[in-house]
Amino acid sequence: MSAELTDDMIVCRCEEVTVGEIKEAIREGARDIVGVKRRTRAGMGLCQGRTCEKLVQQLLVQELGISPKEAGTSSARPPVRPVTFGELAKGEVL
Protein backbone atom coordinates (compact mmCIF):
# COMPACT_ATOMS: atom_id res chain seq x y z
CA MET A 1 0.00 0.00 0.00
CA SER A 2 2.37 2.63 1.18
CA ALA A 3 5.76 1.05 1.65
CA GLU A 4 8.58 1.60 -0.77
CA LEU A 5 8.66 -1.16 -3.36
CA THR A 6 11.98 -2.55 -4.40
CA ASP A 7 12.09 -4.78 -7.46
CA ASP A 8 13.41 -7.74 -5.51
CA MET A 9 10.45 -7.80 -3.10
CA ILE A 10 8.49 -11.07 -3.33
CA VAL A 11 4.81 -10.72 -4.20
CA CYS A 12 3.73 -14.31 -4.95
CA ARG A 13 5.39 -16.45 -2.30
CA CYS A 14 4.35 -19.81 -3.76
CA GLU A 15 5.93 -19.14 -7.15
CA GLU A 16 8.52 -16.63 -5.89
CA VAL A 17 7.48 -13.88 -8.25
CA THR A 18 8.96 -10.44 -7.51
CA VAL A 19 7.71 -6.88 -7.89
CA GLY A 20 10.25 -6.44 -10.72
CA GLU A 21 8.88 -9.42 -12.66
CA ILE A 22 5.32 -8.21 -12.30
CA LYS A 23 6.25 -4.70 -13.41
CA GLU A 24 8.03 -6.26 -16.40
CA ALA A 25 4.88 -8.24 -17.25
CA ILE A 26 2.87 -5.03 -17.12
CA ARG A 27 5.38 -3.35 -19.43
CA GLU A 28 4.96 -6.30 -21.77
CA GLY A 29 1.24 -5.69 -21.94
CA ALA A 30 -0.41 -7.39 -18.97
CA ARG A 31 -3.49 -5.33 -18.13
CA ASP A 32 -5.17 -7.40 -15.43
CA ILE A 33 -4.67 -10.15 -12.84
CA VAL A 34 -5.08 -12.88 -15.48
CA GLY A 35 -2.53 -11.20 -17.77
CA VAL A 36 0.04 -11.04 -14.97
CA LYS A 37 -0.73 -14.63 -13.97
CA ARG A 38 -0.18 -15.92 -17.54
CA ARG A 39 3.12 -14.13 -17.89
CA THR A 40 4.65 -14.66 -14.45
CA ARG A 41 2.79 -17.59 -12.77
CA ALA A 42 1.88 -15.24 -9.89
CA GLY A 43 -1.18 -16.91 -8.33
CA MET A 44 -0.57 -20.34 -9.90
CA GLY A 45 1.04 -21.92 -6.85
CA LEU A 46 -0.19 -23.84 -3.87
CA CYS A 47 -2.43 -21.09 -2.51
CA GLN A 48 -3.86 -20.24 -5.95
CA GLY A 49 -3.49 -16.52 -5.39
CA ARG A 50 -5.29 -16.27 -2.07
CA THR A 51 -2.38 -14.29 -0.64
CA CYS A 52 -0.94 -12.48 -3.63
CA GLU A 53 -3.95 -11.63 -5.78
CA LYS A 54 -4.64 -8.46 -3.81
CA LEU A 55 -0.98 -7.47 -3.98
CA VAL A 56 -0.87 -8.02 -7.75
CA GLN A 57 -4.06 -5.98 -7.99
CA GLN A 58 -2.40 -3.12 -6.09
CA LEU A 59 0.59 -3.18 -8.45
CA LEU A 60 -1.68 -3.04 -11.50
CA VAL A 61 -3.63 -0.15 -9.98
CA GLN A 62 -0.42 1.67 -9.17
CA GLU A 63 1.36 1.06 -12.48
CA LEU A 64 -1.57 1.56 -14.85
CA GLY A 65 -3.75 3.99 -12.91
CA ILE A 66 -6.73 1.65 -13.28
CA SER A 67 -9.38 0.80 -10.65
CA PRO A 68 -9.24 -2.40 -8.57
CA LYS A 69 -12.35 -3.50 -10.45
CA GLU A 70 -10.56 -3.11 -13.80
CA ALA A 71 -7.65 -5.19 -12.50
CA GLY A 72 -10.17 -8.06 -12.53
CA THR A 73 -9.87 -11.37 -10.76
CA SER A 74 -8.28 -14.68 -11.66
CA SER A 75 -10.28 -17.49 -13.18
CA ALA A 76 -10.61 -20.79 -11.31
CA ARG A 77 -10.19 -24.23 -12.78
CA PRO A 78 -10.50 -27.67 -11.23
CA PRO A 79 -8.79 -28.84 -9.16
CA VAL A 80 -9.02 -25.58 -7.18
CA ARG A 81 -6.89 -27.07 -4.42
CA PRO A 82 -3.87 -29.30 -4.90
CA VAL A 83 -4.55 -33.05 -5.23
CA THR A 84 -2.20 -35.85 -6.12
CA PHE A 85 -2.38 -37.58 -9.50
CA GLY A 86 -2.79 -40.84 -7.61
CA GLU A 87 -5.97 -39.67 -5.95
CA LEU A 88 -7.30 -38.23 -9.20
CA ALA A 89 -6.59 -41.48 -11.04
CA LYS A 90 -8.53 -43.50 -8.48
CA GLY A 91 -11.61 -41.28 -8.75
CA GLU A 92 -14.68 -41.94 -10.91
CA VAL A 93 -15.04 -40.38 -14.33
CA LEU A 94 -17.71 -37.69 -14.27
Binding site: M1, S2, A3, E4, L5, T6, M9, I10, V11, R13, Q48, R50, T51, C52, E53, K54, L55, Q58, P68, K69, T73, S75, A76, R77, P78, P79, V80, R81, V83, T84, E87, L88, K90, G91, E92, L94
Partner: protein, 378 residues
Protein backbone atom coordinates in the same frame (compact mmCIF):
# COMPACT_ATOMS: atom_id res chain seq x y z
CA UNK B 1 -22.70 -41.91 -7.65
CA UNK B 2 -23.46 -40.49 -4.24
CA UNK B 3 -26.55 -38.29 -4.36
CA UNK B 4 -27.71 -35.69 -1.88
CA UNK B 5 -30.45 -33.10 -1.86
CA UNK B 6 -28.07 -30.40 -0.64
CA UNK B 7 -24.30 -30.06 -0.58
CA UNK B 8 -23.07 -27.32 1.72
CA UNK B 9 -19.44 -26.27 1.29
CA UNK B 10 -17.86 -24.69 4.36
CA UNK B 11 -18.78 -25.59 7.96
CA UNK B 12 -18.49 -22.11 9.46
CA UNK B 13 -21.47 -20.22 10.88
CA UNK B 14 -23.08 -19.70 7.44
CA UNK B 15 -22.62 -23.29 6.26
CA UNK B 16 -23.75 -24.80 9.56
CA UNK B 17 -26.84 -22.58 9.68
CA UNK B 18 -27.68 -23.45 6.06
CA UNK B 19 -27.24 -27.19 6.73
CA UNK B 20 -29.37 -27.07 9.87
CA UNK B 21 -32.21 -25.25 8.10
CA UNK B 22 -32.21 -27.48 5.01
CA UNK B 23 -31.92 -30.59 7.20
CA UNK B 24 -34.73 -29.44 9.46
CA UNK B 25 -37.20 -29.48 6.54
CA UNK B 26 -36.17 -32.99 5.55
CA UNK B 27 -33.45 -32.47 2.95
CA UNK B 28 -30.55 -34.92 2.92
CA UNK B 29 -27.55 -32.70 3.58
CA UNK B 30 -23.84 -33.27 3.14
CA UNK B 31 -21.61 -30.62 4.71
CA UNK B 32 -17.92 -30.62 3.73
CA UNK B 33 -15.06 -28.57 5.08
CA UNK B 34 -11.32 -28.75 4.54
CA UNK B 35 -10.42 -28.06 8.17
CA UNK B 36 -9.92 -30.58 10.99
CA UNK B 37 -12.89 -29.31 13.03
CA UNK B 38 -16.21 -27.81 11.98
CA UNK B 39 -17.21 -24.34 13.19
CA UNK B 40 -15.12 -22.14 10.96
CA UNK B 41 -13.93 -19.10 12.86
CA UNK B 42 -16.36 -19.68 15.76
CA UNK B 43 -14.04 -21.90 17.78
CA UNK B 44 -11.29 -19.30 17.82
CA UNK B 45 -13.66 -16.56 18.86
CA UNK B 46 -13.29 -16.76 22.60
CA UNK B 47 -14.94 -13.36 23.15
CA UNK B 48 -18.58 -12.70 23.92
CA UNK B 49 -20.55 -11.77 20.83
CA UNK B 50 -22.35 -8.52 20.23
CA UNK B 51 -25.84 -8.49 18.79
CA UNK B 52 -29.35 -8.99 20.07
CA UNK B 53 -30.76 -11.70 22.29
CA UNK B 54 -32.05 -13.30 19.06
CA UNK B 55 -28.41 -13.69 18.02
CA UNK B 56 -27.24 -15.27 21.28
CA UNK B 57 -25.42 -12.06 22.17
CA UNK B 58 -23.22 -12.14 25.21
CA UNK B 59 -22.35 -15.77 24.35
CA UNK B 60 -18.79 -16.69 23.48
CA UNK B 61 -18.15 -17.72 19.87
CA UNK B 62 -17.07 -21.27 20.69
CA UNK B 63 -20.27 -21.89 22.65
CA UNK B 64 -22.29 -20.76 19.64
CA UNK B 65 -20.22 -23.21 17.59
CA UNK B 66 -20.98 -26.07 19.99
CA UNK B 67 -24.68 -25.26 19.86
CA UNK B 68 -24.68 -25.24 16.04
CA UNK B 69 -22.90 -28.59 15.89
CA UNK B 70 -25.53 -30.07 18.19
CA UNK B 71 -28.32 -28.69 16.01
CA UNK B 72 -26.61 -30.02 12.89
CA UNK B 73 -26.56 -33.46 14.45
CA UNK B 74 -30.24 -33.18 15.34
CA UNK B 75 -31.01 -32.22 11.73
CA UNK B 76 -29.18 -35.36 10.51
CA UNK B 77 -26.55 -33.40 8.62
CA UNK B 78 -23.69 -35.59 7.39
CA UNK B 79 -20.37 -33.84 7.95
CA UNK B 80 -17.11 -34.63 6.17
CA UNK B 81 -14.11 -32.87 7.63
CA UNK B 82 -10.68 -32.48 6.01
CA UNK B 83 -12.55 -32.78 2.76
CA UNK B 84 -12.10 -30.37 -0.10
CA UNK B 85 -14.35 -29.65 -3.04
CA UNK B 86 -12.00 -29.43 -5.99
CA UNK B 87 -14.45 -29.17 -8.84
CA UNK B 88 -18.05 -28.23 -9.66
CA UNK B 89 -19.35 -29.38 -13.04
CA UNK B 90 -22.54 -29.11 -15.18
CA UNK B 91 -25.39 -31.19 -13.89
CA UNK B 92 -24.43 -30.19 -10.33
CA UNK B 93 -21.71 -32.84 -10.23
CA UNK B 94 -19.07 -32.31 -7.63
CA UNK B 95 -15.59 -33.74 -7.10
CA UNK B 96 -14.53 -33.97 -3.47
CA UNK B 97 -11.22 -35.00 -2.02
CA UNK B 98 -12.59 -36.77 1.04
CA UNK B 99 -10.55 -37.06 4.21
CA UNK B 100 -10.72 -40.58 5.63
CA UNK B 101 -10.40 -41.58 9.29
CA UNK B 102 -7.11 -43.27 8.38
CA UNK B 103 -5.72 -39.86 7.46
CA UNK B 104 -5.65 -40.79 3.79
CA UNK B 105 -7.60 -39.01 1.08
CA UNK B 106 -10.01 -40.40 -1.46
CA UNK B 107 -11.61 -38.85 -4.53
CA UNK B 108 -15.39 -38.97 -4.37
CA UNK B 109 -17.77 -37.72 -7.01
CA UNK B 110 -21.33 -36.87 -6.13
CA UNK B 111 -24.38 -35.07 -7.39
CA UNK B 112 -26.31 -32.53 -5.34
CA UNK B 113 -29.69 -31.11 -6.30
CA UNK B 114 -28.74 -27.86 -4.55
CA UNK B 115 -25.32 -26.43 -3.71
CA UNK B 116 -24.69 -23.88 -0.98
CA UNK B 117 -21.27 -22.21 -1.08
CA UNK B 118 -20.19 -20.77 2.26
CA UNK B 119 -16.42 -20.75 1.93
CA UNK B 120 -15.83 -17.61 3.99
CA UNK B 121 -12.98 -15.20 3.49
CA UNK B 122 -9.21 -15.04 3.66
CA UNK B 123 -6.89 -12.45 5.11
CA UNK B 124 -5.36 -9.68 3.06
CA UNK B 125 -1.59 -9.51 2.93
CA UNK B 126 0.27 -6.22 3.17
CA UNK B 127 3.60 -5.78 1.45
CA UNK B 128 6.49 -3.96 3.01
CA UNK B 129 10.19 -4.66 3.02
CA UNK B 130 10.68 -8.02 4.70
CA UNK B 131 6.98 -8.99 4.75
CA UNK B 132 7.86 -12.60 3.99
CA UNK B 133 10.13 -12.87 7.05
CA UNK B 134 9.10 -15.60 9.54
CA UNK B 135 7.18 -13.84 12.30
CA UNK B 136 5.00 -11.79 9.96
CA UNK B 137 1.55 -13.33 9.86
CA UNK B 138 -2.12 -12.60 9.50
CA UNK B 139 -3.92 -11.57 12.69
CA UNK B 140 -6.32 -14.43 12.08
CA UNK B 141 -3.40 -16.85 11.95
CA UNK B 142 -2.10 -15.52 15.26
CA UNK B 143 -5.60 -15.98 16.68
CA UNK B 144 -5.74 -19.57 15.46
CA UNK B 145 -2.38 -20.24 17.10
CA UNK B 146 -3.42 -18.97 20.52
CA UNK B 147 -7.06 -20.00 20.67
CA UNK B 148 -7.11 -23.26 18.72
CA UNK B 149 -3.58 -24.60 18.98
CA UNK B 150 -2.67 -22.95 22.30
CA UNK B 151 0.72 -21.81 21.04
CA UNK B 152 1.94 -18.24 21.34
CA UNK B 153 3.08 -16.86 17.96
CA UNK B 154 5.74 -14.86 19.79
CA UNK B 155 6.14 -12.78 22.91
CA UNK B 156 6.29 -9.18 21.67
CA UNK B 157 3.66 -8.42 19.08
CA UNK B 158 3.05 -5.42 16.83
CA UNK B 159 -0.43 -5.36 15.31
CA UNK B 160 -1.07 -3.58 12.02
CA UNK B 161 -4.71 -2.48 11.74
CA UNK B 162 -7.33 -1.33 14.23
CA UNK B 163 -10.46 -2.81 12.72
CA UNK B 164 -12.35 -5.17 14.99
CA UNK B 165 -10.07 -8.06 14.02
CA UNK B 166 -6.94 -6.10 14.95
CA UNK B 167 -8.44 -4.93 18.24
CA UNK B 168 -9.97 -8.25 19.30
CA UNK B 169 -6.93 -10.32 18.38
CA UNK B 170 -4.65 -7.86 20.24
CA UNK B 171 -6.79 -8.29 23.34
CA UNK B 172 -6.75 -12.08 23.02
CA UNK B 173 -2.98 -12.11 22.51
CA UNK B 174 -2.67 -10.29 25.84
CA UNK B 175 -5.07 -12.78 27.41
CA UNK B 176 -2.79 -15.54 26.12
CA UNK B 177 0.15 -13.90 27.87
CA UNK B 178 1.81 -12.07 24.98
CA UNK B 179 2.88 -8.43 25.15
CA UNK B 180 1.23 -6.32 22.50
CA UNK B 181 3.75 -3.55 22.02
CA UNK B 182 1.71 -1.30 19.79
CA UNK B 183 -1.15 -1.14 17.31
CA UNK B 184 -0.39 0.66 14.05
CA UNK B 185 -3.14 2.24 11.93
CA UNK B 186 -2.72 4.21 8.70
CA UNK B 187 -6.10 5.95 8.99
CA UNK B 188 -6.59 9.00 11.23
CA UNK B 189 -9.06 7.10 13.39
CA UNK B 190 -9.56 3.70 14.97
CA UNK B 191 -11.43 1.39 12.60
CA UNK B 192 -13.25 -0.95 14.95
CA UNK B 193 -15.63 -0.61 17.87
CA UNK B 194 -14.58 1.94 20.48
CA UNK B 195 -15.26 -0.50 23.32
CA UNK B 196 -12.67 -2.90 21.87
CA UNK B 197 -10.17 -0.05 21.52
CA UNK B 198 -10.90 1.01 25.10
CA UNK B 199 -9.90 -2.47 26.37
CA UNK B 200 -6.57 -2.14 24.57
CA UNK B 201 -5.88 1.37 25.86
CA UNK B 202 -6.92 0.47 29.41
CA UNK B 203 -4.27 -2.24 29.31
CA UNK B 204 -1.70 0.45 28.56
CA UNK B 205 -1.10 -0.40 24.89
CA UNK B 206 -0.52 2.57 22.55
CA UNK B 207 -2.46 2.90 19.32
CA UNK B 208 -0.42 4.76 16.69
CA UNK B 209 -2.77 6.37 14.19
CA UNK B 210 -1.58 7.72 10.80
CA UNK B 211 1.35 5.34 10.91
CA UNK B 212 2.28 2.31 8.88
CA UNK B 213 4.88 -0.42 8.92
CA UNK B 214 7.55 0.12 6.27
CA UNK B 215 9.92 -2.69 7.14
CA UNK B 216 10.15 -5.93 9.08
CA UNK B 217 13.65 -6.22 10.55
CA UNK B 218 15.26 -9.61 10.29
CA UNK B 219 17.39 -10.85 13.20
CA UNK B 220 20.41 -13.15 13.16
CA UNK B 221 18.06 -16.15 13.45
CA UNK B 222 16.36 -15.11 10.21
CA UNK B 223 13.16 -14.19 12.04
CA UNK B 224 11.51 -10.86 12.83
CA UNK B 225 13.38 -8.86 15.47
CA UNK B 226 11.63 -5.54 15.02
CA UNK B 227 9.70 -3.32 12.69
CA UNK B 228 10.21 0.14 11.29
CA UNK B 229 7.13 2.32 11.38
CA UNK B 230 6.63 5.77 9.88
CA UNK B 231 3.99 8.43 9.94
CA UNK B 232 1.88 8.68 6.77
CA UNK B 233 0.43 11.70 4.98
CA UNK B 234 -3.21 12.04 3.89
CA UNK B 235 -2.47 9.84 0.85
CA UNK B 236 -1.12 7.15 3.19
CA UNK B 237 2.43 7.73 1.94
CA UNK B 238 5.22 7.44 4.55
CA UNK B 239 6.71 10.79 5.54
CA UNK B 240 10.53 10.63 5.30
CA UNK B 241 12.29 11.36 8.55
CA UNK B 242 9.49 10.03 10.75
CA UNK B 243 10.77 6.45 10.90
CA UNK B 244 11.22 4.72 14.22
CA UNK B 245 12.09 1.14 15.09
CA UNK B 246 10.03 -0.95 17.48
CA UNK B 247 11.50 -4.16 18.91
CA UNK B 248 9.16 -7.13 18.45
CA UNK B 249 9.27 -10.77 17.39
CA UNK B 250 5.91 -10.95 15.67
CA UNK B 251 4.07 -8.65 13.28
CA UNK B 252 0.37 -9.45 12.94
CA UNK B 253 -1.48 -8.04 9.96
CA UNK B 254 -5.14 -7.14 10.35
CA UNK B 255 -5.63 -5.50 6.97
CA UNK B 256 -9.09 -6.77 6.18
CA UNK B 257 -10.43 -9.85 4.48
CA UNK B 258 -11.52 -10.81 1.02
CA UNK B 259 -14.22 -13.32 0.09
CA UNK B 260 -12.95 -16.79 -0.89
CA UNK B 261 -14.28 -17.04 -4.39
CA UNK B 262 -12.72 -20.03 -6.14
CA UNK B 263 -15.77 -22.31 -5.99
CA UNK B 264 -18.14 -19.47 -6.85
CA UNK B 265 -16.02 -18.83 -9.95
CA UNK B 266 -15.83 -22.52 -10.73
CA UNK B 267 -19.62 -22.83 -10.70
CA UNK B 268 -19.70 -19.92 -13.12
CA UNK B 269 -21.66 -17.55 -10.89
CA UNK B 270 -21.78 -13.99 -12.22
CA UNK B 271 -19.68 -11.62 -10.13
CA UNK B 272 -19.73 -7.98 -9.19
CA UNK B 273 -17.02 -5.79 -7.72
CA UNK B 274 -17.81 -4.28 -4.34
CA UNK B 275 -15.05 -2.48 -2.45
CA UNK B 276 -16.71 -2.32 0.99
CA UNK B 277 -17.49 -6.06 0.84
CA UNK B 278 -13.87 -6.94 0.05
CA UNK B 279 -13.64 -7.14 -3.76
CA UNK B 280 -15.30 -9.46 -6.27
CA UNK B 281 -18.38 -11.20 -4.89
CA UNK B 282 -21.15 -13.34 -6.39
CA UNK B 283 -24.33 -11.55 -7.38
CA UNK B 284 -27.26 -13.00 -5.45
CA UNK B 285 -30.92 -12.31 -4.85
CA UNK B 286 -32.90 -12.06 -1.61
CA UNK B 287 -33.14 -15.88 -1.60
CA UNK B 288 -29.30 -16.00 -1.61
CA UNK B 289 -29.43 -17.73 -5.01
CA UNK B 290 -26.65 -16.87 -7.46
CA UNK B 291 -26.90 -16.50 -11.24
CA UNK B 292 -26.59 -20.31 -11.34
CA UNK B 293 -29.84 -22.11 -10.71
CA UNK B 294 -29.68 -24.14 -7.51
CA UNK B 295 -26.40 -22.59 -6.37
CA UNK B 296 -26.72 -20.49 -3.23
CA UNK B 297 -24.19 -18.45 -1.27
CA UNK B 298 -24.03 -17.23 2.33
CA UNK B 299 -21.71 -15.55 4.78
CA UNK B 300 -18.41 -13.85 4.07
CA UNK B 301 -18.27 -15.37 0.56
CA UNK B 302 -21.03 -12.91 -0.35
CA UNK B 303 -19.14 -9.96 1.15
CA UNK B 304 -17.12 -9.76 4.34
CA UNK B 305 -19.27 -9.09 7.42
CA UNK B 306 -19.40 -11.01 10.68
CA UNK B 307 -20.65 -14.24 12.23
CA UNK B 308 -24.17 -13.07 13.07
CA UNK B 309 -24.94 -11.92 9.53
CA UNK B 310 -23.31 -15.11 8.21
CA UNK B 311 -25.64 -17.22 10.38
CA UNK B 312 -28.71 -15.38 9.14
CA UNK B 313 -27.69 -15.55 5.47
CA UNK B 314 -26.96 -19.24 5.91
CA UNK B 315 -30.48 -19.78 7.22
CA UNK B 316 -31.93 -17.99 4.20
CA UNK B 317 -29.89 -20.15 1.82
CA UNK B 318 -31.01 -23.31 3.64
CA UNK B 319 -34.67 -22.27 3.54
CA UNK B 320 -34.49 -21.38 -0.17
CA UNK B 321 -32.85 -24.70 -1.02
CA UNK B 322 -35.56 -26.55 0.96
CA UNK B 323 -38.22 -24.53 -0.86
CA UNK B 324 -36.83 -25.41 -4.28
CA UNK B 325 -36.73 -29.07 -3.27
CA UNK B 326 -40.47 -28.85 -2.55
CA UNK B 327 -40.00 -29.34 1.19
CA UNK B 328 -41.41 -25.96 2.07
CA UNK B 329 -44.25 -24.02 0.39
CA UNK B 330 -43.35 -20.78 -1.34
CA UNK B 331 -45.46 -18.82 1.15
CA UNK B 332 -43.89 -20.43 4.20
CA UNK B 333 -40.39 -19.92 2.79
CA UNK B 334 -41.04 -16.33 1.94
CA UNK B 335 -42.46 -15.61 5.44
CA UNK B 336 -39.42 -17.17 7.07
CA UNK B 337 -37.07 -15.21 4.86
CA UNK B 338 -38.88 -11.96 5.65
CA UNK B 339 -38.37 -12.57 9.37
CA UNK B 340 -34.65 -13.17 8.84
CA UNK B 341 -34.26 -10.11 6.63
CA UNK B 342 -35.76 -8.07 9.47
CA UNK B 343 -33.08 -9.40 11.81
CA UNK B 344 -30.35 -8.79 9.21
CA UNK B 345 -31.66 -5.27 8.86
CA UNK B 346 -31.26 -4.66 12.59
CA UNK B 347 -27.70 -6.02 12.48
CA UNK B 348 -26.85 -3.63 9.66
CA UNK B 349 -28.01 -0.50 11.48
CA UNK B 350 -25.83 2.18 13.04
CA UNK B 351 -22.67 3.85 11.80
CA UNK B 352 -20.82 0.54 11.39
CA UNK B 353 -23.58 -1.35 9.63
CA UNK B 354 -25.50 1.00 7.40
CA UNK B 355 -22.94 0.96 4.60
CA UNK B 356 -23.27 -2.82 4.40
CA UNK B 357 -27.04 -2.52 4.33
CA UNK B 358 -26.83 -0.12 1.37
CA UNK B 359 -24.26 -2.27 -0.46
CA UNK B 360 -26.39 -5.42 -0.02
CA UNK B 361 -29.24 -3.58 -1.74
CA UNK B 362 -26.88 -2.57 -4.55
CA UNK B 363 -25.81 -6.20 -5.05
CA UNK B 364 -29.40 -7.47 -5.12
CA UNK B 365 -30.55 -4.65 -7.45
CA UNK B 366 -27.74 -5.50 -9.84
CA UNK B 367 -28.88 -9.12 -9.71
CA UNK B 368 -32.40 -8.08 -10.76
CA UNK B 369 -31.02 -6.01 -13.61
CA UNK B 370 -28.35 -8.35 -14.93
CA UNK B 371 -29.66 -11.81 -14.05
CA UNK B 372 -33.38 -11.82 -13.26
CA UNK B 373 -33.79 -15.58 -13.52
CA UNK B 374 -30.91 -17.94 -12.73
CA UNK B 375 -29.79 -20.55 -15.27
CA UNK B 376 -28.17 -23.98 -14.76
CA UNK B 377 -24.41 -24.45 -14.24
CA UNK B 378 -22.72 -24.39 -17.65
Amino acid sequence: MLEKDVLVIGAGPAGLAASIEAGKYGASVLLVDLNMQPGGQLFKQIHKFFGSSAHRSGTRGYDIGKQLLKEAEESDVEIWMQSTVIGIFPGNKIAIEKGLDSGEKEMVTMQAKKIIIATGASENAIRFKGWTTPGVMGAGAAQTMINVNHVKPGQKIVMLGTGNVGLIVSYQLMQAGCDVVSLIEAAPKIGGYAVHAAKIRRAGVPIRLQHTIIEAKKGADGCVCGCVIAQVDEHFQPIPGTEETIACDTIALAAGLKPTMDLVKLAGCKLTFNGPFGGYIPLHNERMETSCEGVFVAGDTTGVEEANTALEEGKIAGISAAEDLGLLTADAASDKRAEIWDRLHSLRLGPFGERRMIEKEVVMDEYKERIGTPSPIQ
